[in-house]
Amino acid sequence: MPDETSSVSPAPDGRPTAEQPRWRRDFPVDSEQAAYVGRRDFVKFMLLPSGAFFVGQVWIGLHSLRSGDDGPPLRRVATLTDIPVGGALVFHYPSPLDPCLLVRPDEDTLLAYSQACTHLSCPVQPDVAAGRLNCPCHNGVFDLKTGRPVSGPPRRPLPRINLEVRDGVISATGVEPRT
């Protein structure tokens, strides 16, 4: 209850405040009483968001426990015969909406990067002979060997796709995000 010095309008039935029903305290006529928030009510209210956070955390924890964190799946991309030396091909990894580039600058080297330019996500085009990846939108240039930006607007390197070659089959094993 508000402090005792604040006035409480008398109820129409004339009975004292203590005998009035609960709703009269919850919906008081006096603006001073209406603006008053008891410490207990305030703490109860504060528990709402923190309680919601707690429940959310528990839910996230249970969810990750149940599904496990296996990372992106291993996926077959191509065979060594599909890609000639000096050639490149596009594949999608980890989801069908993530285009990636597989480049073979020489016989023993396979490189794979996300094709989305780190500037505004235009697809980068390989120039294997020059050892570069060019973005046609804003003239961004990436180094083919490292995937790092060389010139133009992009400032971050392209995410690298980890590859594994077994029995002539090239598979993607994960995405390595870099800064």
Partner: protein, 214 residues
């Protein structure tokens, strides 16, 4: 800042000349420009030119706020019952129907009940309400009780009203003749004189015979 506790509002319908200055002064207020929150009542237009200004009486236990389902009307600590809050008012008309004095008016264009709040912006800053400043006959008087007793020796302020079973005490006073000042004004008896119910004569038409029904 609250309304000065020694100041009160005194209505003296005897002095009202029906000039409507109060109504128009109210309508000119910047906080509700163009809409008057008070009105003028004609007692019996066929028989008399007598009028009475109707401002909010600011009840101690405001019936309008009691019946408001949206909790839109509240009473400040200094006893002023505020007009409905725009975000809360649902234009249900409960207050309009419930107020024994007929004060609240529904502004249907904006779906908001607007009623006299004793010019809270002015009175809480130590000024008089707009209507009391413009009233040429001071039928609406805002000042101390000492002032009103000195200026109106033949009248006595009364702020208790009986409406059937409901007794209402208000912050605003009505001036009644000092000859036999009642403790409580029986409004039903005053509205229906001669019905047998003993009441007091706030009725201003004593010298005029009630018209006979055809």
């Amino acid at each position: 800042m609250p309304v000065p506790p020694d100041h009160a509002f005194f209505i003296d319908p005897n002095r009202c000349i029906g000039c409507q200055a109060c109504v128009h002064a109210c309508a000119e207020c910047d906080t509700h420009k163009g809409v008057s929150m008070i009105h003028l009542e004609y007692l019996d237009r066929r028989l008399s030119t007598q009028t009475a200004p109707v401002i909010c009486m600011h009840c101690d236990s405001p019936t309008c706020a009691e019946v408001c389902p949206a909790d839109a009307i509240s009473k400040t600590a200094d006893g002023v019952v505020q007009s409905a809050r725009k975000p809360r008012c649902i234009a249900c008309n409960n207050c309009v129907l419930a107020c024994p004095f007929g004060v609240p008016k529904m502004q249907t264009e904006v779906e908001l009940m607007m009623k006299c709040d004793m010019c809270y912006d002015r009175t809480s800053a130590g000024k008089k309400p707009m209507c009391a400043t413009v009233c040429p006959s001071q039928a609406l008087f805002f000042g101390t009780r000492d002032d009103v007793e000195r200026l109106r020796p033949n009248s006595t302020p009364v702020n208790r009203f009986q409406f059937g079973a409901q007794e209402v005490q208000t912050k605003v006073y009505v001036m009644v003749p000092s000859a036999a000042p009642p403790n409580v004004l029986d409004m039903n008896a005053a509205m229906h004189p001669g019905s047998g119910t003993p009441g007091i004569h706030v009725n201003l038409l004593d010298t005029i015979q009630p018209h006979s029904k055809p």
